[in-house]
Symmetry: none
Subunit: 222 residues, 4 copies
């Protein structure tokens, strides 16, 4: 009995140490993600978009390096990705949300799963970006849009609601195709409906006040 | 965007189906484990021990077959043992508790981790018996002893408390060597202290009433 | 053993008495702070600002005197500021919130930590204004603004939302630089986001209704 | 505003770092205290008392060294003992309980506050052993006695209950002299009553069965 418990003691201590190392890297990911998100918050103010994006993207490189460190740590325990996955799940949601919002600000389109993986250097082998984490990150990104359209309209950008509405409507429709059995994800997705509704209201406000003069022309083009 | 979500849809449906298949097997494990535990409960009554053990051990063979089925299902998703682990964790605690109590009834000793694995056919490859699940199962087994010694003494078996006390004391001391950072396991271990105390009290009762005539001789030996 | 416990009895009674004296002063601080806050609430009504401020500032002098009394009591137990700190923490949050809001009404700017200390006479020696208490007070002040801008706009002051928004945006951005490990403070700061969002919505409302005619000129200046 | 928050950022990070260092030392105190307590648990088994005490006392030296490290860390922030006190309070209760039980096993008497301070090297200057922590530790020690007397009587030591009862009765009476306004301590003290009652019951059991033949003679001596 003693020999067995002595072995367990060593094993449990080893896995505690591993977890501590994982948490130390994850804590740095959280910190870099917080700095990137703070930089990105400047889109709500009259700051040139290019300046905002430069600051956020600098942190993305830092975060990519940290995920590489995490992958290095996890290489020591093959087949146990999901054992420790809960330790960086929340932080990964925040990172994906930030990346996807940055991508939308740049391109007006959706950051694809493969692109997110590539930006985080998570393409190869066992350590990838979990699909459900990617989707949850998109739900968090969606929460940014109501505030964004309000502030853009206030700053006189009356075209913004229409663009956001088109994007969110497509995203929401795509999510609806999925059979979400993950409770957390389904709940977050439910929240996207409210973001969509608020953006619709803002679009309605600018439309009803005649603040979108080129509207008919734009609609013909699209 | 559509192609990506179409792919996710297929992936999520596939993993839902997998989970349903896992849960179906786990439900059968739970059922067989319940039957075995119910059979084992007869040790609290004046039933011949051999009869009790035969019934419990018949279920162990069933359970072993079910774990083999589970391993077969998991072979389809290599490296994802810990992704689905939570789906059979609770049931495995019950199985280990039942196995370890059966083993103690037969031998008076502790069922080792390797023996538990072997009884469940979990020795090979990726699908083993998690150490923390094994330890949690032992804590649940410990909860059986207070009631067991009370009933054995009632049935006139005055030697039983001493044997159980020696076993539980050693098991408790072995656990104390471990640095338990798993909250669930630590809490379950805290409960073992009360089992130990209750068994001590029963032993005290039989001793103080002079019901252990051969005591002095035994103590000299130990 | 008796002598020791006799000594403890005296010590515990002494520290009970001390605590009672601290609580008596703190209760007066709470009372004066409540009067000041009640006076300040008149800014939500059409009352001249000067009248409101006079009443609030009269209480600040009272509160300053009470903190001096508190410091006097604490001089009797050097090095134990943090032992009793919890006894006046909540009241200090309310006082700082009231002071900072008063200051913003007067100047449109942030009451600095050093200024808050000076107004409360807490500059010297061991008894200062804890930084986390100061920051928590600012979070409480932030909660006043959504209601304030709504009432100012109702009263016809359409410039107010823009001024408040600029102030709150800067304050929020400053807080985001901090790595808040104090749970209570972090939670209070999380609430500031909703205040900010509500003020943005009010600003959006006045803007979209064309109630800020001088807007374009202001934006050019900023 | 920026300069002030930059300063706060530095201050908060500094105090986070300090807290992390404190917690690292406290975690080692907890670990050494756990080893000492595990060693002390052997008094419930037929192990020579001298062997048990040697092992426990070896850890006391380790713990003393760790408190010296803690004091060293706290020297960097004079006057803030009580700011961080909550971080080692629980561990100190365990340490005092273990020390006081060890002392009783050796001498049959109470470990005085000054002796506890000296064993932990906490005599000098600002960093002492808080009286309420000392008293709480004694309450935890009291919880060990019911189990101890049961096991001693089982092992044939029929004099033990009387000795423990005399000690606990005095300790309980001493506590009753105190006006306990600390809620946590008062609640722990309430538990001592149950320990006393259980020890009385065990004493009654041995007395009623005539297992204390030398009783009258002993009473005359005491």
């Amino acid at each position: 009995m003693d020999a067995q418990f002595e072995l367990f003691r060593a094993q449990l201590d080893e896995s505690s140490t591993l977890r501590d190392r994982i948490r130390a890297v994850v804590s740095e990911i959280e910190s870099a993600s917080r700095v990137a998100t703070a930089a990105l918050l400047l889109v709500h103010q009259p700051v040139p978009l290019a300046d905002v994006l430069v600051k956020a993207k600098a942190q993305v490189e830092v975060i990519k390096g940290l995920y590489a460190q995490l992958a290095e740590v996890l290489k020591e325990c093959p087949g146990q990705y999901y054992r420790f996955h809960g330790d960086w799940r929340t932080e990964t949601h925040m990172v994906v949300s930030m990346l996807a919002f940055t991508h939308w600000l740049e391109t007006g389109g959706l950051l694809m799963h493969a692109e997110a993986q590539e930006k985080l250097g998570l393409c190869s082998g066992e350590f990838g970006l979990n699909v459900e984490d990617y989707l949850t990150g998109l739900c968090f990104m969606s929460n940014e849009f109501p505030r964004f359209v309000v502030n853009r309209v206030t700053a006189g950008d009356y075209d913004c609601p229409k663009r956001v509405l088109g994007f969110l409507t497509d995203l929401h429709a795509s999510f609806r195709m999925l059979n979400l059995r993950n409770d957390f994800l389904r709940k977050k997705f439910d929240g996207m409906k409210y973001d969509l509704r608020r953006v619709e209201e803002v679009y309605y406000d600018v439309k009803i006040r005649g603040l979108v003069p080129a509207e008919l022309k734009q609609e013909t083009q699209s």
